[in-house]
């Protein structure tokens, strides 16, 4: 089977809208949180979010939206887009430039695109409200394209002329890792030569606040304390949005084009909890099984893993569950890998999480650092014995694991290796 490499990255995130600023934020643990203005009212108990900067997309009319300098989107392209499609469109531009792909290399039957977002609850809500109030024929003709959860693949496949495999993945917070895993399979099986993997979310009030009633969001008012995975004081996650795009290519393409990849995608594993619609298995059974399968699929002994980018979102139950899963895999204290959750600085990107953190892993491997797990003042006793790093280590990891867990108990673990 051909090896698979990451050759391009694009970032629109709460910690930076390009690779350089994201790398700096990761190294220096600069967070993207703020007292989010739309949450200011007394009726909203949640106060902190990690918004993307430089974009203004709070109107339901896309022609009102503004973007950072350098990005222009024609009206006929914009009219079918959600905010997360706009983020991903910009991240695509970066990833294409980063991978130095020509138009012919983007648009051909050997190049596909897998995407994941939760759609746009914001635009869906607006469209349904308009439909109920003004009539069935008064909705925007492209309202459905802009709002349902396939909006990313609909828009990107059409506008970038993608001719290979295309699909959207829907497993909540595991979605974009599923997209990456299945893209790896298509490349390893020789079905495609190149795949774009896109994770994105609106990250606006309508995307974040529905998690409040299930008590999943942090009610902290201090942006410096709201997201603290593995800390005893954690009280829920902080919502974020944005988009990350990864370009995956087979070793033949990497050699033919003469590009230097970030790292190898060695393989992946997935397993499900079969336990609860929204809550992780208390002992992390599904996640542990996913990690085991990923390590077995890539012939990686547990001792070889240098760094784990944990899913840990800063919820009391989820972080404990993951800590137990990690302890069940990495049993030898002397060889336990460095572990951190970068959600301590980015917030939780939902469908975006897997792609975003896989992008971080690629940066860590190529640039030689392991980002610390910020905001831990009192480590949860459940994590005793795990090597959770509080600050960034300037060492280059050779083998990296990235975990995600989604609603319904879906768990995905991806293995990345130094190229």
């Amino acid at each position: 089977m051909p090896k698979v490499y990451i050759t391009g990255l694009g970032f629109i995130t709460s910690i930076g809208n390009d690779r350089a600023s994201v790398t700096t934020s990761l190294r220096e643990l600069r967070h993207g949180f703020e007292r989010y203005a739309p949450f200011a009212g007394p009726e909203v108990p949640v106060k902190v979010a990690a918004p993307v900067r430089g974009f203004q997309m709070d109107s339901t009319d896309p022609e009102d939206w503004t973007f950072p300098k350098g990005y222009t989107i024609r009206r006929e392209v914009l009219r079918g887009m959600s905010p997360n499609a706009v983020y991903s469109w910009c991240a695509m531009q970066q990833a294409i430039a980063d991978a130095r792909l020509t138009p012919a290399e983007i648009s051909n039957p050997q190049t596909g695109l897998y995407a994941a977002s939760g759609g746009s609850p914001f635009l869906m809500g607006h469209m349904l409200q308009r439909m109920h109030q003004q009539g069935v024929m008064k909705c925007s003709p492209l309202g459905i394209i802009a709002s349902i959860s396939g909006t990313l693949n609909f828009n990107l496949v059409a506008h970038f002329g993608i001719k290979g495999s295309s699909c959207g993945f829907s497993s909540a917070c595991a979605s974009s890792s599923h997209a990456l895993g299945f893209a790896y399979d298509d490349l390893a099986l020789g079905r495609q030569k190149r795949m774009f993997i896109v994770g994105a979310e609106d990250g606006n009030p309508d995307a974040i606040l529905p998690f409040a009633s299930m008590r999943a969001l942090s009610l902290q008012t201090d942006p410096n304390l709201a997201s603290r995975p593995f800390d005893t004081g954690r009280d829920g996650f902080v919502g974020t949005g944005g988009a990350v795009v990864l370009v995956l290519e087979t070793e033949d393409e990497v050699a033919r084009r003469g590009v230097t990849p970030y790292c190898e995608v060695a393989g992946w594993g997935q397993a499900s909890d079969g336990h609860n619609v929204a809550i992780s298995h208390p002992d992390g059974h599904g996640l542990a099984a996913a990690i085991k399968l990923a390590l077995a699929a890539t012939n990686t002994p547990a001792e070889a893993v240098d760094y784990v980018n944990a899913h840990a979102t800063s919820t009391p139950i989820g972080d404990t569950s993951e800590a137990r899963a990690l302890k069940s895999i990495f049993r030898t204290p002397a060889t336990r890998p460095a572990i951190s959750s970068t959600k301590a600085i980015t917030g939780h990107g939902l469908s975006l999480a897997g792609a975003m953190e896989s992008g971080f892993c690629a940066l860590a491997i190529r640039d030689g650092f392991m980002p610390g797990s910020a905001n831990i003042t009192r480590l949860d006793p459940e994590c005793e014995g795990l090597n959770i790093i509080r600050s960034t280590l300037p060492a280059q990891p050779r083998v990296v694991l990235n975990n995600v867990s989604g609603f319904g108990g879906a768990n995905v673990s991806l293995v990345f290796r130094q190229a």
């Binding site: 022609e63 009206r75 006929e76 009219r79 024929m137 008064k138 925007s140 003709p141 492209l142």
Partner: protein, 326 residues
């Protein structure tokens, strides 16, 4: 004092029919929001229409709405007030943009447009005429008819090698045609020596041929009668000017509009362009024609039911559920 037609005042004033509802300040606010990306004059025209129901304001609203959805670099074309501007080819309006235009027009003019009514709207003039008919409660105009060369040959008394139309469209307001100068035309061997140039007289002939096609396809006559193809002849022309030398490879865009039609004479104005360049204009030319009984006419009329090979706007596909993938 000139009475304002929009302000019915005394008891003798006749308000326009069509709009039953009164126009409230809330309606005006909603209208302003709907038209916020249109020119102020579009909004003003819409307000006048909604207040009075006077259909004279409708064209300005329709053009303003189309302009709002056309890419900025193409908007200048709308300023030329050319009813022959084609929505797709000239203005880049695709079928989804057409839906956006329809939704906004419906909203602003408080009317309903069905999908199948949209199928034949190809030019700005088609749209204006269609909406005007809807608003005034008149029967909808006969749709523009498209004729490929096979159909032109079947209808016309003029035949190759002296036919200078490759394709044509005929509506009640005029006709458009195209002819590509191939270089194989027999007369180019001698016009001129080693220097083939389309004769201006042949360009005038092409305009006349389009006039013949218009008479055969577009003119409504007495019941039971049709224009007889063997009775049409050229009688005269005025104000003929050639502006551009046309050579092999050039595609002539030929257009005519009827000025007067009164048995047995039909007078047209005509113009030929190559791309955006004016090639020739004729201020007027006149054809004479006669009628015959429809029953005895040549079977060419049956060909008019030949379906168009491709959907022009794609709207038909949406209406049939075969357009966008669900």
């Amino acid at each position: 004092m000139v009475p304002n037609p929009d302000q019915p005042t005394g008891p003798e004033a006749k308000p326009f029919i069509g709009l039953a509802k009164t126009f409230t300040p809330e309606d005006e606010a909603a209208l302003r929001e709907s038209l916020k990306r249109c020119s102020p004059s579009t909004f003003e025209a819409a307000v006048q229409y909604r207040r009075t129901g006077n259909p004279e304001h409708v064209p300005a609203v329709v053009i303003g709405v189309i302009e709002r959805f056309v890419e900025p670099d193409l908007r200048v074309k709308l300023k030329e007030a050319d009813d022959d501007l084609r929505l797709i080819d000239d203005l880049g309006v695709d079928s989804l943009t057409m839906m956006e235009i329809v939704v906004l027009v419906e909203d602003v003019l408080q009317m309903t447009i069905n999908n199948d009514e949209l199928r034949n709207l190809r030019t700005v003039g088609d749209v204006k005429l269609f909406i005007d008919c809807k608003i005034r409660g008149l029967p909808l105009p006969k749709p523009t008819k498209f004729l490929p060369v096979e159909q032109i040959v079947a209808v016309m008394p003029i035949q190759p090698p002296f036919l200078f139309l490759n394709e044509a469209s005929v509506s009640s307001s005029g006709a458009n045609g195209k002819y590509k100068i191939t270089g194989q035309e027999f007369f180019l061997q001698g016009h001129f020596k080693d220097n083939p140039v389309m004769p201006a007289s042949i360009m005038l002939e092409a305009l006349g041929q389009l006039g013949v096609l218009f008479l055969l396809e577009g003119v409504s006559t007495e019941p039971g009668k049709v224009v007889s193809s063997s009775t049409i002849f050229f009688t005269g022309c005025e104000g003929v000017r050639a502006h551009r030398i046309c050579r092999p490879g050039d595609i002539l865009s030929i257009s005519i509009k009827p000025k007067r039609t009164k048995m047995p004479l039909a007078t047209f104005e005509g113009a030929i362009r190559v791309g955006q360049e004016k090639a020739a204009i004729v201020e007027e030319f006149t054809l004479t024609f006669g009628l015959e009984d429809a029953a005895t006419a040549a079977p060419a009329a049956q060909l008019s039911d030949v379906p168009r090979p491709t959907s022009i706007t794609g709207l038909g596909q949406i209406a049939n559920g075969t357009g966008p993938n669900a």
